[in-house]
């Protein structure tokens, strides 16, 4: 048999190998997935596996399972990526290996409209009949200049303010949602209330100044581009300047935590901040991050009302393997009743107009959010939404302003310096 030395060497090698291989182990991909449970390696050669690329949590897992149950020959595999990498990856994939279904957020819709011929015209699959079901301006996100329908709308993101009623109570502020909404008819009032909160508790009111920026910039009918999309107005639009000034003014009440970071998620639980901008789809996210705080979060109106944040189209790339099946799924999952179903399950607010007079939607209360009637809160918000043109360089411009706000928050630049450097950087990049 082996000598003692040899055994020692072998076991040492085995131990190191185990250590090394555990480091090499791949992580589970972030896909939500196939509620079917089995691992995709089906011996059923008739089964079609559709690839669905998305970002964030679209809340579609149950609906996908429902569809798969009703259509046993179809399986849908989701791949979830971060917001920007998802869209960038999708763009570069359009000429090679594309998914069958993808989500495109409204901020990126102009960019993809420029290459809309790389998507299937869903009118070929009967989508034109669906046009009347949706808000006009949401439907328009998925229609290109030649009238091809390359995407069907998912949800809309009318905005409200989610606040921690328990922390408000500690700070001596009212907690009833109507009273809270009455506290801040304007943004200046909002910032003042924030100041009161900070002096009373010593904690931050907002997660970052980006909070104010994101809300205010979406509250008009023009953002970085003119309403007809023909010119850039990021440096002349008074709404943008106002958004900037308000964001800068909010610096003392903000915690300087980046959105979507681990600290931000933790902050939903640990009281690092007391309010969040809540488009409808944010509610599901908060519930996921802070399950133990049911009842502590509540919903009030947004200062100066209005404004849409988010929403997507589902598209079928032209090079998809199963375009007909993909189109079929999209029409099914985005139909009026499915959107309503999704709202009740996850909070994604429908872009289908019929939903807004549906008594079930209007009467819907969220248990987590202290029984807030979120159905009617958001339905009211929807009526004030103005179509807002978002152009191809949307994200580029937004990122520059965001970085500038970050520099102000760090104290690296004065607000004027930061604003000027942002404008200069955008001019260089975009024109």
């Amino acid at each position: 048999m082996f000598s003692k030395k040899k055994w020692l060497a072998v076991s040492a090698a085995a131990a190191s190998a185990a250590l090394v291989l555990s480091g090499c182990a791949g992580t589970e991909s972030e896909s939500s997935s196939n509620a079917g449970g089995s691992s995709g390696s089906s011996s059923d050669s008739n089964q079609k596996v559709l690839q669905f690329w998305a970002f964030g949590d679209m809340g579609l897992a149950e609906l996908i399972a429902e569809y798969e149950a009703a259509n046993p020959d179809i399986k849908i595999e989701m791949k979830v990526s971060d917001f920007d990498p998802h869209h960038q990856g999708l763009l570069t994939s359009l000429d090679s290996t594309t998914p069958d279904i993808a989500a495109i957020e409204v901020g990126y819709s102009s960019l993809f409209k420029a290459v809309s011929q790389k998507f299937v015209d869903l009118a070929e699959y009967g989508a034109a009949d669906m046009e009347g079901d949706y808000l006009d301006w949401r439907w328009a996100h998925g229609v290109d200049l030649d009238g091809r329908i390359f995407g069907i709308p998912t949800d809309v993101g009318p905005m409200a303010v989610c606040y921690r009623s328990d922390l408000f109570a500690e700070a001596g502020l009212p907690t009833d949602r109507d009273e809270v909404s009455a506290l801040w008819p304007t943004w200046e009032d909002f910032i003042e209330v924030g100041g009161q909160y900070v002096s009373a508790t010593g904690n931050s009111f907002l997660s970052s100044t980006g909070y104010v920026w994101n809300a205010v910039k979406n509250q008009s009918d023009e953002k970085f581009y003119s309403a007809d999309g023909s010119s850039l107005v990021y440096d002349t639009n008074p709404q943008i300047k106002r958004a900037w000034d308000l964001s800068v003014a909010a610096t003392p009440i903000a915690a300087n935590i980046g959105d979507w970071t681990a600290d931000w998620n933790a902050g939903m639980n640990n009281g690092a901040y007391a309010v969040l901008t809540c488009p409808a789809w944010m509610m599901g996210y908060i519930q996921g991050q802070a399950p133990d705080l049911a009842g502590a979060w509540d919903v009030a109106a947004m200062p100066e009302g209005g404004g849409n944040w988010g929403g997507s189209q589902l598209v079928v790339p032209a090079r998809a393997k199963y375009p007909a099946e993909a189109a079929d799924f999209i029409k099914w999952v985005l139909s009026a009743d499915k959107q309503l179903e999704l709202f009740k399950a996850k909070g994604q607010f429908p872009s289908t107009v019929a939903a807004y007079s549906d008594p079930e939607l209007l009467g819907f209360e969220s248990e987590y959010f202290n029984n807030a009637p979120i159905g009617s809160i958001y339905a009211e918000g929807v009526n004030t939404l103005l179509p807002l043109y978002e152009g191809p360089k949307e994200r580029v411009i937004d990122t520059e302003f965001g970085s500038a706000l970050g520099r102000v928050a760090n104290g690296e630049q004065t607000p004027q310096e930061a604003y000027d450097s942002a404008i200069e950087a955008i001019k260089r990049d975009v024109g």
């Binding site: 060497a9 040492a12 190191s16 250590l19 090394v20 480091g23 090499c24 920007d84 960038q88 763009l91 570069t92 359009l94 420029a114 290459v115 935590i257 980046g258 959105d259 979507w260 970071t261 681990a262 600290d263 933790a266 580029v396 990122t399 965001g402 970085s403 500038a404 970050g406 520099r407 760090n410 690296e412 630049q413 260089r428 990049d429």
Partner: protein
């Protein structure tokens, strides 16, 4: 002989045959992309159109672009902070491993290589958390010892230090093993003779070991220059919000800048121009370092 013998010609043919797979693969996956990149650099090209010839415009724009110069500054700063300590530490570790009587030598030699085989992204995520502003362990330790916490990611020098720590952590063991192998080849008699002459351990190290492993030193300096000037994954992960390398581009490196222009701004021509600039910098600086290290006394 006027003609090569048939045997010799056959040998030559076999030689070419055996090495051809490498060259074929290199031609397709190495040489062709390089040439293509140079071609793209002279065009303006995005996903929405065809490539348009614009000559040197990309390079002219680059010369004027403050983002490039910030990236170059950051890249060199990170390079110095990471490469110099790393190689010195590696030399020290190799010396310890070869000349001390520690038990379980093989174990220690395997252990120092483990950081090298970890996932770069995972390491960046973990170090990012360790050095987090509010909840990071490093800041907690600092406060325990009475210092005030540092905003590692948002400062320029502090972010460079953070990235350098990750790079040092990863590559020291690798270089140490290379030095170790070289040191093992140094004849014992040299040390014994020096011992007899009364040289201290340190003197032996400087006058015997270093000159004897000179080729290895040159090798590691060149390789770490090439690698260290192309740091990409760590800055990418540290800036969770995009490819800018921080809100003031404080840790944007040239590779990251190239990636940002190519894959989030979709300016393929501009990114290719940056790639060429980077390659030029790397080659020039490697040659420079080679000339410097070559001045070490020959053995």
């Amino acid at each position: 002989m006027a003609n090569k013998s048939r045997l010799k010609r056959a040998e030559e043919r076999t030689g070419y045959l055996y090495t051809s797979p490498f060259f074929l693969v290199f031609a397709v996956f190495g040489l062709f992309p390089i040439i293509y990149t140079v071609w793209v650099a002279f065009h303006q090209w995005d996903p929405f159109g065809e490539p348009t010839w614009i000559g040197l415009d990309n390079f002219v724009a680059l010369a004027d672009d403050p983002r490039l110069w910030i990236a170059i500054r950051n890249t060199f700063s990170i390079w110095i902070l990471s490469t110099v300590p790393q190689l010195v530490l590696a030399l020290f570790l190799a010396w310890m491993l070869s000349h001390s009587r520690i038990r379980g030598n093989t174990f220690w030699r395997s252990l120092i290589l483990v950081p090298n085989i970890t996932s770069v992204v995972a390491v960046a995520v973990v170090f990012g958390q360790l050095f987090g502003r509010d909840y990071g362990m490093v800041n907690w330790l600092l406060t325990v010892f009475g210092f005030s916490p540092i905003d590692w990611v948002n400062g320029t020098l502090s972010s460079h230090i953070l990235i350098s720590i990750m790079v040092i952590w990863r590559w020291t063991g690798y270089n140490a093993l290379i030095y170790l192998a070289a040191m093992q080849a140094v004849p014992e008699e040299l040390y014994e003779a020096a011992e007899v002459d009364g040289a201290s351990k340190f003197r032996q190290f400087i006058s015997i070991t270093i000159p004897q492993i000179r080729p290895t030193l040159i090798f590691t300096v060149i390789v770490s220059t090439i690698g260290g000037l192309q740091i990409f994954a760590e800055p990418l992960i540290l800036d969770g919000q995009g490819y800018g390398g921080g809100v003031s581009r404080q840790f944007s490196t040239v590779t990251l800048f190239m990636f940002e222009q190519g894959f989030s701004r979709f300016e393929y021509g501009y990114a290719s121009a940056i790639a060429i600039v980077l390659a030029t910098i790397v080659v020039a600086f490697s040659i420079f370092n080679f000339l410097v290290v070559r001045r070490i006394q020959k053995a």
